[in-house]
């Protein structure tokens, strides 16, 4: 592994060998075992429950299949900072990847939540969750460039690649992202990475929720270096990322007071913020960003500039789903469900039919995480 570069200086010349293939300490190719397990499952028609670090087991419906772990399939296969691309095996620790990137002053732009110390890249991609930076920089799927997967037909296939632009064939790499392992077992993944911003500050402004939503949307319509916007407890928090000069001007435009935002954004990303504590059911409402406050009982934390709303509520699922349907959004029963009910927003008939056919196309025997996303898949 390369020595930490520490600070970013004006390199007169790029490094001689630009291809810096970094091999992580835990370099282990377990694909043969995974293929064998899949083929056995196909033979015996015994469905599998795929997991990585097992930190996101709560996410989605429960599946009573035989557990199989991809966590042993580890290693960063290549990382070239000037290409902005990193390829790693699915079981590679997210924390390790982030630390390797940090050495080169780069980061995973979509801030995937770890939800635990053993989170893997594969788990992050399969769940497709993104952190506070998402509305301004992009989602998990926006940064996935290519994957190698094991399908439910027992085939090891590669889609996409290690380059930024690629339209050869359908975009199956992005289809895999967020599909919760129901279409294939991810073996390795190439993601686009970005330079870490030079400077980052957080501003706090006193705003009631309704006004906060309006302000977040108004600011997003102006050329400002926003990288997160959240409203909670009567305060609107705005994170700015970029060059010092950009931030100085933007801070003057927006006003408010500067606060230490690092633990706030980390807490929202990882659900360690006090809002997420306790057993009360947690819902994720994904709605058009300018939607006014939705009339539902419970406590609310608004992230993603208004587009992602976390709700602690005892309200019944149909009530919640109906309310978000009305505004053109969807609701996920994130935590506190028993794993038997629908977790994800029900699909309209036509879409569900298409989902079934796609499942059939990748996993005809339904051996991969059956029922994890929807009962029918």
């Amino acid at each position: 592994m390369n020595a930490p570069t520490g600070s970013r200086h004006l390199d007169a010349e790029p490094p001689k060998d630009q291809r810096q293939t970094l091999v992580s300490p835990a370099d282990n190719d377990a694909s043969a075992q995974l293929i064998e397990a899949i083929q056995e499952a196909i033979r015996d028609r015994k469905p599998l429950a795929i997991y990585g670090g097992n930190n996101k087991a709560f996410y989605g419906r429960r599946t009573d299949s035989t557990p199989i772990s991809a966590a042993g399939h580890t290693g960063i296969l290549s990382y070239d900072p000037t290409e902005l691309v990193l390829t790693a095996r699915a079981g590679t620790s997210l924390a390790l990847i982030e630390s390797v990137l940090a050495e080169h002053l780069q980061l995973i732009p979509f801030e995937p939540p770890n939800f635990g110390p053993t989170a893997t890249l594969g788990g992050a991609i399969a769940c497709g969750l993104s952190g506070p930076r998402r509305p301004y920089v992009g989602a998990t799927r926006d940064f996935v460039l290519g994957v190698t997967v094991l399908t439910g037909r027992g085939q090891r296939l590669r889609f996409g690649g290690q380059v930024m632009k690629n339209v050869a064939g359908y975009d199956i790499a992005r289809l895999m992202t967020g599909s919760l392992g129901t279409l294939g077992v991810l073996l390795d993944i190439s993601v686009k990475v970005l330079p870490a911003p030079q400077t980052e500050i957080t501003l706090a402004l006193e705003r009631d929720t309704e006004t906060a939503i309006q302000t977040m949307n108004a600011l997003a319509g102006r050329p400002l270096p926003l990288s997160a916007a959240c409203a909670y407890g009567g305060i609107l928090y705005i994170r700015l990322s970029g060059t010092p000069s950009a931030i100085t001007t933007a801070r003057e435009t927006i006003g408010g007071t500067t606060v230490d935002g690092s633990s706030l954004w980390q807490g929202i990303r990882e659900h360690t913020h006090p809002f997420f504590a306790g057993p009360r059911p947690l819902w994720r409402l994904s709605v058009p960003s300018a939607t006014p406050v939705i009339d539902l009982p419970g406590a609310l934390l608004i992230d993603w500039g208004g587009a992602q709303r976390w709700l602690r509520t005892d309200a019944k699922a149909p009530v919640i789903r109906k309310a978000v349907d009305r505004v053109g959004g969807h609701a996920t029963f994130f935590r506190g469900h028993d794993g038997r009910d629908e977790v994800f927003h029900p699909l309209k008939t036509g879409l569900l039919r298409l989902h079934r056919r796609l499942k059939e196309a990748f996993d005809p025997q339904r051996i991969l995480n059956p029922g994890r996303m929807y009962e029918e898949l």
Binding site: T243, P288, L358, A361, M373
Partner: protein
């Protein structure tokens, strides 16, 4: 005419007749074209080396009519090729002799611009640039800017996942589309994505983007609008070698800068562009880089200084900075007109579209130059340098017997080279009919079969744009055979294309 030909001809006439009768029940007379002279304008897209008039062309202007067209085609087992503006460069909109060409040209209305949510909801036939123009009053714009943006449609952009010179920072079409309404070949209307930043279930929005008209007919698109940066300036740097220019690109990124645009042109492209638009390019340079930085005034000034230092350190022989909007536009004009510029100096040109890891640039350009020499065909290169997307333009003369074939062979070799160095055969122009053979190089049989299975899930009858984008395994077997054994075809039993 041979007897068989006569029979085929009569058959086609019957089919055409039946189609027209069925289409007339819901389409006005002037929305159905079936005479040779009316069909001519639709015989090709931007890949004009291939031409084919369709059986019938239709120009519906309501969704019901589109649905009815698909129903008729389903009933009469007639394939459908959708067409936007026909600027595609891979033959995606090339008609089929036994098929209907479905033009969405009449769907050209901007339905809604929402300045608060920063979205535009438009019909598929709306031109790319028209969206940004409509958003001007709100200080917003639609970021992906293909060079063809005055003509190409948003439906075509989604179908190809088109890019532009500003995609390095602001993303491709797939990053800027929120919702797509499409009609399946079975006549069902589906909404993919939505007004929120994600949708439940599989990411079908990503799947339809870049699907080249094979998965569904896109009938409405909602795109993201971005706030227009306060200011932007372009640096124009000249280099003695393409290697030095390539190293400068890597150095800019290594220093944590993601420019709004980062483009490279080689000497042949520079001279052609300069002749055409007088952009002020140094015609003696081996390569130039165009690097645009944007943001607020202070930020732009800082980044300009930083980039200038990097360029100088990387051996730029000349660095110029745009001092006005007019000059900025002029710097870009050369790059944006590179294709037509090359079109002026050669009777014909063939535009390739591979993507490579940037570090392989020197190797790929050197090999391309060698290939160019051995085929006796000149090549000019324009390059979306920031994201590794290379456009070698092969200069040829279609009137010289055999030259098109040699050009295609050379193009194919260049694409295979892209795959060899870890890249891809198409970054933004799509596979169409053009790169079917190279798909066999990039993907194995199982992967191609998986693509066919996805197609089958959307379009079980194979009605939409059959034969494009994903090759049949038969075709690959044949190509592989030709490829490996230099023309000795070991599979005589297979159908020849």
């Amino acid at each position: 005419m041979h007897q068989a030909d006569t029979a085929a001809h009569q058959n086609a006439e019957h089919q055409r007749h039946d189609l027209v009768i069925a289409l007339r029940t819901f389409l006005p007379e002037n929305a159905i074209l079936s005479e040779e002279e009316d069909l001519r304008p639709y015989e090709c897209d931007g890949l004009s080396a291939y031409r084919q008039v369709p059986l019938v062309a239709v120009l519906p202007d309501t969704l019901e009519q589109v649905q009815q067209c698909l129903r008729v085609c389903r009933e009469q087992r007639t394939p459908v090729v959708v067409r936007g503006a026909g600027t595609g460069l891979s033959g995606g909109a090339l008609p089929l002799s036994d098929g209907v060409l479905l033009s969405l040209a009449k769907f050209n209305r901007i339905l809604n611009i929402d300045p608060v949510a920063r979205t535009a909801r438009v019909q598929p036939g709306v031109r790319n640039l028209a969206i940004s123009e409509a958003a001007v009053p709100f200080g917003l714009y639609y970021a992906p800017d293909p060079s063809s943006q005055i003509a190409c449609t948003i439906g075509g952009n989604v179908a190809e996942n088109s890019g532009g010179v500003h995609c390095l920072k602001y993303g491709l079409t797939v990053h800027n589309v929120l919702e797509v309404k499409m009609i399946t070949s079975e006549g069902e209307t589906l909404t993919l994505g939505g007004g929120a930043l994600d949708a439940p279930g599989y990411d079908l929005l990503a799947l339809i983007t870049g699907s080249e008209g094979l998965l569904g007919v896109i009938v409405e698109v909602t795109v993201k609008l971005l706030p227009k940066p306060e200011c932007a300036q372009v640096l124009l740097a000249a280099f003695h070698t393409v290697e030095a220019a390539g190293a400068a690109v890597a150095a800019i990124i290594a220093n944590g800068i993601i420019p709004g645009g980062l483009e490279m042109m080689d000497n042949a492209a520079i001279r052609a562009a300069e002749d055409f638009v007088q952009a002020g390019y140094p015609t003696d340079a081996a390569a130039i880089l165009l690097c645009e930085v944007d943001g607020n005034a202070a930020e732009v000034a800082d980044q300009v200084a930083q980039v200038e230092a990097i360029l100088a350190a990387c051996g730029a022989t000349q660095v110029r900075l745009s001092r006005s909007e007019a000059e900025r536009a002029r710097f870009w004009a050369g790059r944006k007109n590179a294709f037509p510029a090359v079109g002026r100096i050669s009777p014909d040109y063939y535009c390739m579209d591979g993507t490579i890891p940037r570090r392989e640039l020197a190797r790929v350009l050197t090999r391309t130059a060698e290939l160019s020499k051995s085929y006796g065909l000149a090549v000019a290169n324009v390059f979306h340098a920031g994201d590794g997307n290379l456009h070698p333009l092969i200069l040829y003369d279609a009137n010289r017997p055999g030259e098109l074939e040699r050009t295609e062979e050379l193009g194919g070799k260049i694409l295979e080279l892209c795959v060899e160095v870890g890249g891809t055969i198409t970054g933004e122009h799509g596979v169409g009919i053009e790169k079917l053979n190279q798909m066999c190089v990039q993907f194995n049989a199982d992967e191609l079969n998986q693509f066919h299975a996805v197609k089958h899930a959307f379009d079980p009858d194979g009605l939409l744009n059959p034969g494009k984008a994903i090759p049949t395994l038969h075709r690959c077997a044949e190509f592989g055979a030709m490829h490996v054994h230099h023309g000795q075809l070991p599979h005589p039993e297979l159908e020849r294309f």
